[in-house]
């Protein structure tokens, strides 16, 4: 007997909703008592929408019920299964967003809050099949551009769309293209920056692995628009799968005649090559990237001249990142106006974030600009792991800053993030909970910047090193009050005097955390305390002799044999040997170990 309806109920392993289990049982009871047992299967599923849970979804009708109670089971079965219509009382209605994340697209359900333009094909098509890309309107934009639009019309469409560079700074894409287009030179270049270097960011990798043709199509369009016949993709060698799929896609595009001479019979020639980088963070900076592509050492140059005028091999060059390019075919098929209908006033379209850290549903999310951090962390991300308290989110990686609870409801766009001392960056989003020490996290980012600073200019080379030394001093309990002022003045010098974006923004994590978590710095400096217990020098484990029964568990578990004592007598920790790993603290069943 074939099943006619599937009822999906919130739940499954890891689900914290107790009610969901009761609802499932109630539904199974009703299915039996109303005599539809053979037509219906009730199963667990997860919709990542805990906020509105428990959810019940009925397939194939796609009825979507939110905040369901066990008492609703009878009506759900009698109305939705037997009579086949929705129970409107339970049907989820999207809340009024009050113009925050404006979307004017009809016929798409928005309970998920995600909207996929860049990732439109990721997870849907076989990335190794050009035909699957073509079926989903692939190379349709190229068709339109080559045969219907002039280069100026393409730029006009991009201008209407309001697309801004997704690599970090948010420079208007149309302007970048126009600057290069205007220069009269027979030799120009189209470059894609796929050197994704922020810790925790992997949007571009996934985009290239899941949908390489959309980048290729966009680069051909850029070539046609700006008058370039050559393109290059700069990608780090540590993305082997992305490189393989990209090269395969380029071979297919060449075979079909989308790359090469006389594309689709239009008379336009264009080809792309892949250039591998060794994985240096500074090579994400466009002038350093170009140096590296030319075979030189990856170091930035003073700007101007900008790459639009003097770029690859000294020729006019357009550089955009993967995500920016991936938007372009959609803008040209659906129109700039369509795109401009999504997002906020000054930031249009969507942004892809790599959501990682202490979050339940880590992964790639694409949301309209103007979505709030609360929606990303608590609705899409499913909240903080283990029910811990939210502390902050680091956006923009080592160039960005923290966003705290106070700004959870700030709509995320380029300008708002700058205003609260962070930045869009490439889109890494690392969630921190109460167990993360802000000083330690900042130290981590500075450690990264010291490693990655190319060393060309003094403010960055010396400044990052100095900041790291001070932060290490503070986390080791040797901090002095003077350190905060010193850090601030070093930061200011770096922001003003560094040659490139790496040095100018390396101070951001320090300034931003000082602004929002000054008390935590003061606790480390004055009280020599680390509330999150991450700074090992400031943590001390001790055994309370009154509670210890001498079970020897801690002594046996201690990896450095720092605990001694006779059986059935209180034990003692040798503070000189202790490495503060916390194993004893977790192992003790009698709560005899204290941590301060």
């Amino acid at each position: 007997m074939a099943i006619k309806n599937y009822i999906l109920v919130c739940g499954g392993p890891g689900c914290e909703s107790v009610k969901a289990d009761l609802i499932q049982r109630a539904l199974i009871r009703e299915v039996e008592s109303q005599g539809v047992k053979d037509d219906v299967q009730v199963v667990n599923g997860c919709f990542g929408f805990c906020e509105q849970g428990p959810i019940v979804k009925i397939l194939p009708e796609e009825f979507f019920y939110a905040k369901v109670n066990p008492g609703d089971a009878k009506e759900i079965i009698s109305e939705s299964i037997i009579k086949g219509h929705a129970v409107s009382r339970l049907t989820y209605k999207a809340e009024n967003d009050q113009g925050r994340a404006k979307i004017n697209i009809e016929g798409v359900s928005f309970y998920q809050k995600q909207f996929r333009i860049v990732l439109r094909n990721c997870g849907l098509i076989n990335p190794e099949s050009i035909d699957e890309y073509i079926v989903r309107d692939g190379y349709l934009a190229l068709e339109k551009v080559l045969f219907e639009l002039s280069p100026d019309q393409v730029i006009e469409e991009l201008k209407i769309s309001g697309l801004r560079g997704r690599g970090g700074a948010g420079f208007p894409t149309w302007l970048k293209w126009e600057l290069t287009k205007k220069i009269d030179d027979p030799e120009k270049y189209i470059v894609c920056n796929a050197d994704e270097g922020d810790p925790g960011a992997y949007m571009d990798r996934s985009s290239l692995e899941g949908d390489p043709h959309s980048l290729i199509e966009a680069m051909i369009i850029a070539g046609y628009t700006c008058g370039a016949e050559n393109g290059a993709i700069y990608i780090r060698a540590e993305y082997p799968l992305a490189i393989r799929r990209l090269e395969l896609a380029m071979d297919q595009a060449r075979e079909y005649g989308f790359l090469g001479r006389d594309i689709l019979g239009s008379g336009f020639n264009f080809d792309i090559e892949v250039r591998l980088g060794a994985g240096a963070f500074v090579c994400g900076e466009e002038t350093a990237l170009l140096q590296s592509m030319e075979g030189g050492r990856g170091m930035p140059l003073p700007k101007p001249p900008y790459p639009a005028a003097r770029g690859f091999l000294g020729k006019p060059t357009v550089i955009n990142n993967v995500e920016t390019y991936a938007n372009i075919p959609v803008i040209l098929t659906k129109g700039g106006r369509w795109f401009a209908g999504i997002g906020t006033e000054k930031s249009k379209g969507t942004k892809v974030f790599a959501l990682t850290g202490k979050i339940n549903n880590s992964g790639l999310v694409e949301v309209p600009m103007g979505t709030t951090l609360r929606e990303i962390v608590f609705h899409i991300g499913g909240g903080i792991k283990g029910g811990k308290k939210f502390k902050a989110v680091q956006t923009g990686g080592p160039s960005g800053g923290v966003i705290t609870e106070a700004d959870l409801d700030t709509p995320i766009d380029y300008d708002n993030l700058l205003a609260i001392g962070s930045m869009m960056g490439s889109g890494g989003m690392i969630v921190m909970d109460e167990d993360d020490c802000i000083v330690d996290v900042t130290r981590f980012y500075l450690d990264f910047c010291v490693e990655e600073s190319c060393g060309k200019c003094a403010p960055c080379r010396i400044g990052t090193r100095k900041l790291l030394q001070i932060l290490e001093k503070i986390t080791e309990g040797r901090g002095e009050m003077d350190d905060i002022g010193q850090m601030k003045s070093i930061c200011m010098a770096m922001q003003k005097a560094s040659l490139c974006g790496l040095g100018q923004s390396a101070a951001n994590p320090v300034l931003s955390t000082l602004k929002y978590f000054e008390q935590e710095y003061l606790d480390h400096i004055k009280e020599k305390k680390c509330a999150a217990r991450k700074c090992k020098s400031l943590v001390r484990y001790e055994i309370n002799p009154e509670k210890c029964i001498g079970c020897t568990v801690c002594a046996r578990k201690c990896p450095v044999n720092a605990i001694s004592g006779e059986k059935k007598k209180p034990h003692k920790i040798d503070q000189n040997a202790c490495v503060k790993c916390g194993v004893c603290y977790q192992a003790c069943k009698f709560h005899a170990i204290t941590v301060a």
Binding site: C46, Q112, R120, L124, I125, P127, G210, Y256, N361
Partner: protein
């Protein structure tokens, strides 16, 4: 494939779109689509694919096609597998291991019953087809 002209490309797109619609309405083919981005592969998608191939071979299933795709975005529940059986709603399974793969073949593909505890939702609607 020879080089495309504009007409050829349009024809190819149209033909393929018609073929896809036919596949959906005639419903002869079962599709199993496995997330094979770095996140999926790191979580064990290759073992899952092997388990699927073995299980369907053991049952002598002829009308099942296995395909790969990129990252769907739900990286925390990789490996992810989408199962499209004609007459059944398309289903996305997460946290799939070899055991779950065998279960999906046995229950979902052969018996038409969904497998408990592994169902997830697609994170967003599709702007291309409007679904």
């Amino acid at each position: 494939m020879a080089k495309m002209t504009l007409e050829r490309l349009r024809k190819l797109r149209e033909e393929q779109q018609i073929r896809l619609r036919q596949l959906e309405t005639e419903g002869k083919e079962i599709q199993v689509i496995i997330g094979m981005g770095t996140c999926g592969i790191a979580a064990g998608a290759k073992d899952v694919l092997d388990a699927f191939l073995e299980a369907s071979e053991a049952r002598n299933l002829k009308n099942v096609i296995f395909k790969q795709t990129g990252c769907m975005g739900l990286c925390s529940v990789e490996p992810i597998v989408e199962v499209k059986v004609p007459g059944m709603p398309h289903t996305i399974y997460g946290n799939v291991d070899a055991e779950t793969a065998r279960e999906i073949v046995k229950e979902h593909i052969v018996r038409g019953r969904m497998v408990n505890n592994h169902i997830f939702d697609r994170p967003a609607g599709d702007i291309v087809t409007g679904k």
